[in-house]
Amino acid sequence: MNKSMFTASLLVLALSQINAHASDKAVRIATEGASPPWDAIDANGQLVGYDIDVGNELCRRMKVECTFVAQDWDGIIPALTVGKFDAIMSGMAITEKRKKSIAFSQPYGGGFNQLVMRKDLDLPATDTKAKINLTSVGKDQQVILDQVRATVAKKTLGVLRSSNSEAVLNELFGRVATIRSYDTQENLHLDLVAGRIDGGLADYFTWKTFLDSKDGDVAAFYGPELSGGLWGPGVGIGIRKEDADLVSAFNEAIAGSTKDGTLRELSVKWFGIDISPPPAE
């Protein structure tokens, strides 16, 4: 550690002290703000979405003050572990890999994922309502997956960096297709519209918002609805492992708001359907 690093650390220390006291009680929740309807930044620069509404609802129940901060998806987990904020609510699926680094609350949402491909490729039609749980793939389902794999061969597919979809995409089609990882889903959309990529894999609702928009006309859903596998049991709140109290507080609040139907209401408000977790027995 040389002098300059030391000076820099001192500076950072000084800056951090200013914040340390102000946020004693408040819980800081990070969200990406670029994956509507989970989370997005509206035209006024405000964070909005299911994540934000649920977060505020849970905090109200926990009687703590919550502030949402926008944080790039890339590096959102390291930033949590070093204490830049206290929780992540960003449509983040609960997975085994992530559990090695952080703790998760119970799921506060479900959902599924799907491929989207450009329409001008004229690919053979598929059943977009078929459902495949990657945790247990049956014989018929394997046939469907193989068909999809054959059609996306030699195509370029985009996916959000550091996402589960990235891992799944690499696992399913990484050998046959070119995979490009984007820092935001919205930049992926830009390239899909521009025709730089032929398609991509992401959360169904993220796609839905885009496909319904003016530019979304160039692409459509393709192949079966995918869930399970690396995506895990659903979307949960990411919390530092040391903060066991916060995990249980959030779990209690999630159970409460599932029971009285608040989560279902919010889910219908943002997604049009109910993706809230089933109430615990």
């Binding site: 040389n2 002098k3 300059s4 690093m5 000076t7 820099a8 650390s9 500076l11 950072v12 220390l13 800056l15 951090s16 914040n19 340390a20 946020s23 703000g33 670029a34 997005a40 930044i41 035209a43 006024n44 620069g45 926008a70 944080q71 790039d72 590096g75 390291p78 930033a79 070093v82 204490g83 830049k84 935001t184 919205e186 930049n187 959309h189 830009l190 519209v193 928009s213 530019d215």
Partner: protein
């Protein structure tokens, strides 16, 4: 769209804030590093040399990523408890480290260009080493260092755009978010270019004025 005007105004404010604060801190850091490098203290001089060589040999983007992600981890490890660095603090710290390293080289060159006679004159007048530094060497050094220092400040303004990659809401970040959410990258990045060009032009012009101000009569360059 008008909401983005407000956001761009805020982004402009953040960019200027980051540039001025890290510029000021980096100048101090650079000056100290230069003095240490020229001193007879072997170990500190070696460390200072290592600092400037390493930082100047790395992409600025990488320095920022390392400080942003690694800095908090290091400080947390040292202090033994979680300490929050806000993105602003991380951004300023990262740019200070980068700016300081380049500054140190400029200052070192400028100090070296001052005749040793000045030093001898100062000591024969009975000035202590520190008085000599402050009263004799530094004022002369500034004039020599000014053109290169001005250029460095212009590039600092541009380097602030890299901070957007780690999430600070500066001009670049506003453009990035806007380009994505409004799906109009051309408009937003052109707007950002215009703002940066205005800022760099402004700093360039002010340094030209400063240089003229510091010019010693009869010492103009032919």
């Amino acid at each position: 769209m008008s909401a983005f005007v407000t956001q761009f105004t805020h982004g402009l404010y953040v960019t200027i804030l980051v540039a001025t604060v890290s510029g000021a801190l980096g100048t101090i850091l650079g000056l100290f590093t230069a003095i240490i490098k020229l001193s007879q203290l072997r170990l500190p001089a070696l460390i200072a040399q290592g600092y400037t060589t390493i930082v100047r040999g790395l992409p600025e983007l990488l320095v920022i990523l390392v400080i942003y992600f690694g800095g908090t981890a290091v400080i947390t490890a040292i202090s033994g408890r979680y300490i929050e660095i806000n993105p602003l603090g991380a951004g300023i710290a990262a740019l200070t480290v980068v700016f300081g390293a380049y500054c140190a080289e400029i200052f070192r060159g400028a100090i070296n260009s001052i005749s040793p006679g000045q030093w001898e004159a100062a000591s024969s007048l009975g000035l202590s080493p520190w008085q000599a530094w402050l009263l004799v060497i530094l004022p002369q050094m500034i004039r020599v260092a000014l053109p290169a220092f001005g250029n460095l400040c212009v590039s600092l303004v541009k380097d602030t755009s890299l901070i957007s990659v780690v999430g600070l809401t500066d001009i670049m970040r506003v453009a990035f978010v806007g380009a994505g959410s409004m799906r109009a990258p051309l408009t937003f990045y052109l707007a950002a270019s215009a703002l940066y060009l205005a800022l760099t032009s402004l700093s360039l012009a002010s340094f030209r004025l400063l240089e003229r101000r510091f010019l010693v009569p009869g010492n103009e360059k032919g």
